[in-house]
Amino acid sequence: MTTSARALCAGLLLVGLGCDGSIGMREPQPEPEQPAFEPQPGPLRRLTATEYRNTVRDLFGPDIVVPSSLEEDQRPDEHGLVAVGVSTFSVSSAGVQKYEDAAYSLAEQALVQAEDPAAFVGCTPGGTVDGACASRFLERFGRRAWRRPLSPAERDRLVAIADDAAERTGDFHQGLVYAVATVLQSPNFVFRAEVGKPSPTRAGWNELTDYELATRLSYLLWSTTPDDALLDAVAAGDLTTPAGLEAEVRRMLEDPKARQGLRAFFDDMLILDKLLETSEIQKDPTVFLHYNAEVGPSAREETLRFLEDLVFEREGSWGEAFTSRRTFIDRTLASIYAVPAPAREGFGAYEFPAEAGRRGILGHVSFLIANSNRATSSATKRGAYIRQVLLCQPIPPPPPDVDTALEPSSPSAPTLRDRVARHLQDPTCASCHQLMDPLGLGLENFDALGRWRTTENDVTIDPSGYLNDGVAFDDAAGLAEVLADSDLAHDCLVRTLYRYGTGHHEVASESAALRDLQRSFEASDLNVKALLLALATSDALRFVLPPSDAAEVME
């Protein structure tokens, strides 16, 4: 063992998060006494790039060209959620400039470059300055953009900007450009404030205003701004009653935008956005003939279509996300999977034969290509992803000064199992690597591009592995079954959705809310749509602490 490898393993031990090897399936045990639920302060969340794009399209129409350069989204850690990152990191000065540029670009497209700006505005100005027309437009536009009605003072200030600019430019619509750009640069648009107001029923807690709640619901379920119907429901007081809230959530789940919302969630959770960055998934062209720039986007689309179908078309169990042989592929992916393409153009449904070893999302190119090296598969990366993303079990990163590269294959170590063996045999390494490598080795029948293989360097691959002691599997299909039956995997989806919806990592005082959601999820036979309904109507989404309070992070 090299010095650097020892240092790596020792470093992993020192970091010491969850590396005792005791993590596994939940054993039946007496229910510990749960502390009562207590919420956390509502974060100030910047719109993610996806939310920004979706929102702008809803405000201006589907033909609007959204500037591609926006403030870059960041994850709080390698496998963390962007939805949490946007409430963690501040906006850079360059990002402020990008928001300004985008605001003017969008406003000019809709009001100057459009063939009929009056259609967008909704009234025909009586002259260069028409305060009444501007006021009506800005009141309507502002309500959608800021997700609440404008106060009279806010409205008047925007109208004054529009009037003044119209006078200076000699053009009514040019004047509105400045007012619309002001709306779009405002923190009221770029950020989602979830402060609430003191709850009349829960002492010390804040209750989100109905508009804040509607915004939470809308970005959770639709990944975009509330529509007029939702804002009207708020105005009518429909969200103040449990029945009214549930009815509205059910309406939202049946709306086509719910698919957009689900895609945004899984894009974030499964880190599928990585597939759009060629540099993140680049493969060695001398090894992988199939790799090209289309592979990443196609792979991302496959997984999103699969999950959309699972949740909304079939309303299947979350377990099927791991075990399903059904998927959606295009010609590019079909050639990687070495199966006939189901459609000449775009994507078509395909079901892998039972004898094929490919199951669920862990058999998708999206997962396999993103968690591999440039030329070789990686049991460690794949295992780490499963632990952290699908089981919500943190694993510390290796120390930055350690060379983590494995030795190249050799006659004495022809397979990856041989090369990672030292991780599992050396006690100092095994403490962490036993959590990753045995899982990842179960997927060794898939190369770094996700192509099926039975040998590596002419040696038959052994794809067996284990989740923990006592939970072993023979191959990728077996691993899929283990995860489908794993309470950890079920709970992890709930936990991740909770983080996504609330914008923060849960703390100990929120464990009761999580437990309730997890029980509800199990009771629904792991129906994701039912989970969305449960979370959206839960106290966890409605209540926050006043901003000054804080709590200990629970892991």
Partner: protein, 303 residues
């Protein structure tokens, strides 16, 4: 020969017509695998000699070794792997044309046409019980259609899905696999080819295929047969109509001196020719293709 028919927009127009030993419509059992040809080019001399005999890749098309009267006294070649009796007189013509054009021009045009989907030759092996030795396999050859994706090596990526060209006939025949090498009985082949800067169907008479196979199908090999002098002159005439250089007068003089097949009276009327190819596994769509307009018009290359 089908040379008079210009089919520039067609994908590879390869038709295996039933010949001796071939039958249509047989139901094969066992495994099957489809392959698409990814590269094809004329086999030629490699500059070496063995026992004063030129070395050239190819097939013994007439099952005779040497240069007897039926071969119009043309001396056979020896294959790089030592197989004797290789018939490949076309290599002389190919060398002349390559000299007149530029080296690699012909194969470059053909490769470009394969890569853009104009020349898609599909070879389906069926009824394979043993991929190493099987004395009865069914061979289906037809044209594919579709726009292929190229791999990082510049050739058609494996395991792509294509349509069968609706205008293509499927030729069904039999062959055998010996030590992992497919050998077919003689048959007639038409290969769409680019030569003299035009596209045409090159007909190989009494052709044979000799190719390596694996469980993924045909991987690489040779297809050889006789090309009639009349056909070559016809191709040259079409080319001459489009350019200043006139090939036909030259060829009409020299071709009879190379002919070694299809003897009529005292003269051979065809030149033995061999093409080497490589292929990769492919699939066909299981649903009917949408109707599309046939855009065949002329045979002039776009190059």
């Amino acid at each position: 020969m089908a040379m008079a028919t210009w089919k520039p927009e067609r994908a590879l127009a390869l038709v295996l017509l039933a010949a001796a030993g071939f039958s249509c419509g047989s139901e094969a059992t066992g495994e099957s695998a489809l392959a698409v040809v990814t590269t094809i080019g004329f086999a030629s001399r490699n500059g070496e000699m063995v026992d004063a005999i030129d070395v050239s890749d190819g097939i013994d098309l007439d099952a005779r070794v040497g240069g007897d009267a039926d071969s119009c006294r043309k001396v056979d070649f020896v294959a790089p792997d030592g197989r004797p009796g290789i018939d490949n007189q076309f290599t002389y013509l190919f060398e002349i044309v390559e000299d007149m054009a530029e080296e690699g021009t012909i194969e470059g045009i053909v490769q470009g046409s394969i890569n853009n989907g104009r020349l898609l030759m599909m070879i389906d092996l069926e009824g394979v019980d043993d991929w190493v030795n099987d004395d009865d396999v069914t061979v289906r050859v037809f044209n594919g259609a579709g726009r292929p994706t190229l791999g990082s090596d510049g050739y058609i990526v494996p395991d792509q899905t294509f349509d069968k060209d609706p205008g293509s006939e499927v030729s069904v025949g039999h062959g055998r696999i010996v030590d992992g090498v497919l050998e077919t009985d003689p048959f007639e082949v038409e290969l769409p080819m680019a030569f003299f800067n035009v596209f045409f169907d090159l007909r190989l008479q009494n052709a044979r295929v000799r190719a390596h196979v694996s469980p993924e199908g045909v991987t690489d090999g040779l297809v050889g047969g006789g090309v009639s002098i009349e056909d070559i002159l016809g191709i040259a005439e079409m080319a001459d109509a489009m350019q200043e250089v006139q090939y036909r007068p030259i060829l009409s003089t020299i071709l009879p001196g190379f002919a070694d097949m299809e003897k009529v009276g005292n003269a051979c009327t065809a030149l033995s020719a061999n093409l080497r190819f490589e292929s990769r596994r492919a699939f066909l769509y299981t649903t009917e293709p949408p109707p599309s307009a046939d855009s065949s018009a002329d045979g002039v290359s776009e190059d």
